[in-house]
């Protein structure tokens, strides 16, 4: 129970301000230096000639506030005639002080005050000879070391990709099996039960939504593990150090220090990264950074890498994906260097000063929260953008390209509008080793979003798999048995994952003779790429990954670029990225052939 507070006894308002009261033994004052003191005294004298102000404020203090341009006090003074005329007279003195110091007068006073305090602290506080080094600082000595810092960071990133690609592979296989197995079977059984078996409705759901959206949802464990690793790195405080190291890496390359900030954001998503270029003050730097940001591989591109690395580089998937990310950084840095010396000449920006938070052990709750927020955003995208695109692609694959080539939903896949259009573009990609209509089609739909590359591949090659497979009548579905199968598969996947954890550090404790059976889709892509590359499927696959890394990230990023930099730069960016992606993929494929690789 709080005691009610009575009004205290108050001294009469006629009492002079405490500062000038003769009872104060020795009044406190900082010496602001001869020039500033002269100005303060001059203003103080003016104040002393204004009785109302004198009563309201201690004169020296008021003089200090006027010189420091305290907005609140200036506003109050401005409100009275007496105050306004005082300010007018004070301005003259302040102007003089500013001229003497060649800087704003308020800085002079604040600078002196900080200096006075600093000197006092040096006199009053004795620090131990050996300053206690916190654990955080000791960690920083190693982790942000000039030489060691970068290799440690690269090793950490490599471990992250190893985790996301190799360790989660069993879960990927499991979900893939669940979607192509029981889920598809149930859907087919349901449509047969409803009497819609074999109709376009069934095809829309099975070949459109399940093949497309399902093909992307397969990568949920991959993204979850990536987000898990990132959440741990961010929460522990290491990401801040990584940013510090990255900045140090970019500085000697002559890029503006601040441009690296959007670049880091770009690893998450290109769109906010383009908006983050606003941190740069001048337009030249903003545009330059906006052109480079898309080369930072965003998380939407990861499913493509994981799929292709699993098909073409089983066992080395982590390393290949890591290499792709590094290639993106290298491309940005090289292009940045070239542009900086040609189109975007200008002064280099100042370096960053960073406030690195102390390291801490991340809490499970916060890791889970961040991982979940990101994963659910991915799933949200699956049900919106990817779903719509899957349906569009399905429809285009269902519409025959002309009369006499079948009816809607009953056309040969190769005769569909989609296949015909994609086939027309395919020759562009032939020199890169992936001139099939499926590959070119997926790259075209991939303009919308990078996950759509995967969903379209799932649909186009999936249709082929279905077409070549025997037209088996739907079997009786046994949900209980299926659920048991799904559960058992999950347990098996968990066991396999745990077994593969030592693989992160390169130790294979559980050597397995048989590599996992590639899915029908994967072997179908493998065959197709082998066919279009003259048997060099690995090189073609790598070239495809490089192409996906470098060409336009997504339609929203393009819109963002137009919004921020205008249509001209947007087109420059889109065309430039396409050209660069084509050239890089060409070099990978043709160069690889020349060197006799793959």
């Amino acid at each position: 129970m709080a005691t009610p507070v009575t009004r205290h006894r108050k001294i009469a308002s006629t009492e002079p301000p405490v500062a000038s009261s003769p009872t104060t033994p020795a009044s406190f004052a900082i010496d602001y230096g001869p020039e500033a003191e002269a100005v303060l005294v001059a203003i103080q004298t003016e104040i002393e000639h204004a009785p109302t102000l004198c009563e309201q404020y201690p004169p020296r203090w008021l003089a200090i506030q006027i010189v420091e341009r305290d907005e609140d006090i200036l506003r109050r003074l401005q409100a009275s005639a007496e105050g306004a005329s005082l300010l007018k007279r004070a301005d003259r003195h302040i102007q003089r002080l500013a001229e003497v110091y060649g800087d704003d007068a308020d800085i002079v006073l604040t600078d002196h005050r900080y200096g006075w305090i600093n000197t006092l602290v040096r006199q009053v506080v004795t620090r131990p000879d050996e300053e206690k080094v916190t654990l955080s600082e000791r960690l920083d000595r190693v982790l942000t070391h000039r030489v060691l810092g970068l290799p440690i960071f690269l090793a950490a990133m490599w471990a992250v990709f190893k985790l996301t690609s190799d360790v989660t592979a069993p879960y990927l296989d499991w979900i893939s099996g669940v979607i192509s197995g029981p889920v598809t079977e149930w859907a087919i059984a349901l449509f047969h039960f409803l009497g819609l078996g074999g109709t376009w409705v069934e095809s829309l759901v099975v070949d459109g939504v399940i093949a497309g959206v399902g093909g992307v949802l397969v990568f949920v464990p991959v993204l979850m593990s990536l987000y898990l690793a990132l959440a741990v790195l961010e929460d522990s405080g290491y990401m801040a150090r990584a940013a510090f190291l990255m900045d140090r890496l970019m500085q000697p390359l002559g890029l503006h220090g601040k441009s690296f900030l959007p670049m880091i954001v770009g690893f998450g998503c290109t769109v906010p990264a383009i908006y983050a270029t606003r941190t740069l003050e001048n337009r030249r730097d903003r545009v330059l950074t906006g052109l480079l940001v898309p080369f930072m591989s965003c998380s939407a591109r990861l499913p493509v890498y994981v799929l292709f690395a699993a098909i073409f580089f089983p066992g080395r998937a982590g390393l290949v994906i890591f290499g792709i990310y590094m290639l993106g950084i290298a491309a940005a840095v090289l292009l940045g260097l070239v542009l900086k010396r040609t189109l975007f000449q200008g002064n280099d920006g100042a370096a960053f000063v960073m406030e690195l938070p102390p390291y801490r052990v991340p809490t499970l709750r916060s890791i889970w929260l961040h991982m979940w927020r990101r994963t659910s955003s991915f799933m949200h995208k699956a049900w919106t953008v990817i779903m719509v695109m899957s349906i569009v692609v399905w429809a285009l694959m269902a519409i025959p390209a002309g009369p006499g080539r079948g009816a809607f939903a009953h056309t040969e896949i190769d005769d569909s509008i989609f296949a015909t259009a994609a086939q027309a573009i395919a020759p562009v990609f032939a020199p890169l080793g992936f001139g099939s209509w499926q590959a070119s089609g997926s790259l075209i739909t991939g303009f919308v979003a990078k996950e759509v590359v995967v969903s379209t591949l799932g649909q186009t090659y999936g249709a082929e798999v279905a077409a070549t497979g025997d037209e088996t009548p739907p079997q009786a579905v046994n949900p209980v048995q299926d659920l048991v199968r799904i559960g058992a598969g999950f347990v098996q996947a968990t066991v396999d994952t745990i077994k593969s954890i030592p693989l992160i550090v390169g130790i294979d404790l559980f050597p397995h003779d048989e590599s996992p059976e590639p899915s029908a889709l994967m072997s179908s892509i493998q065959r197709s790429f082998a066919a279009t590359s003259g048997g060099h499927a690995g090189l073609a696959g790598l070239a495809f990954m490089v192409f996906v890394l470098l060409y336009t990230p997504c339609i929203v990023a393009v819109t963002a670029a137009r919004h921020e930099f205008g249509a001209r730069w947007m087109w420059t960016s889109v065309i430039g990225q396409f050209a660069l992606a084509w050239i890089a993929a060409f070099l990978v494929f043709q160069g690889g052939l020349l060197l006799g690789l793959g």
């Binding site: 305090i117 998503c269 960073m354 406030e355 979003a449």
Partner: protein, 94 residues
């Protein structure tokens, strides 16, 4: 003191940790933060990082976030400071 801080920012080549700067200048970290805040208010130093309002991604079309202010894909970055290029002082010098 304040000026030394600004000078250190101007002369830095390569990123600097606030903690190192505090040691170098012989200013306690807390006090240094106060001085940096002063320059941020004066517009001579620009702060960026989370909460600086510069990461407001204005699109929801990407389908990843319904929330404009907190795109979940944006990495949480440390607070960073750099010399503001278009500061009034520099324009005066130019």
């Amino acid at each position: 003191m304040l000026r030394k801080v600004l000078q250190a920012f101007e002369e830095a080549d390569g990123p600097v940790k606030l903690a190192d700067l505090s040691r170098e200048l012989g200013v306690e970290p807390g006090a240094l933060e106060g001085m940096v805040d002063f320059w941020v208010r004066k517009g001579r130093i620009q702060a960026s990082g989370q909460g600086s309002g510069l990461f407001a991604c204005t699109t929801t079309d990407c389908g990843t976030c319904g929330d404009v202010n907190s795109c979940p894909l944006v990495a949480r970055l440390p607070q960073m400071y750099a010399i503001a290029q278009d500061s009034p002082q520099q324009q005066m010098d130019a």
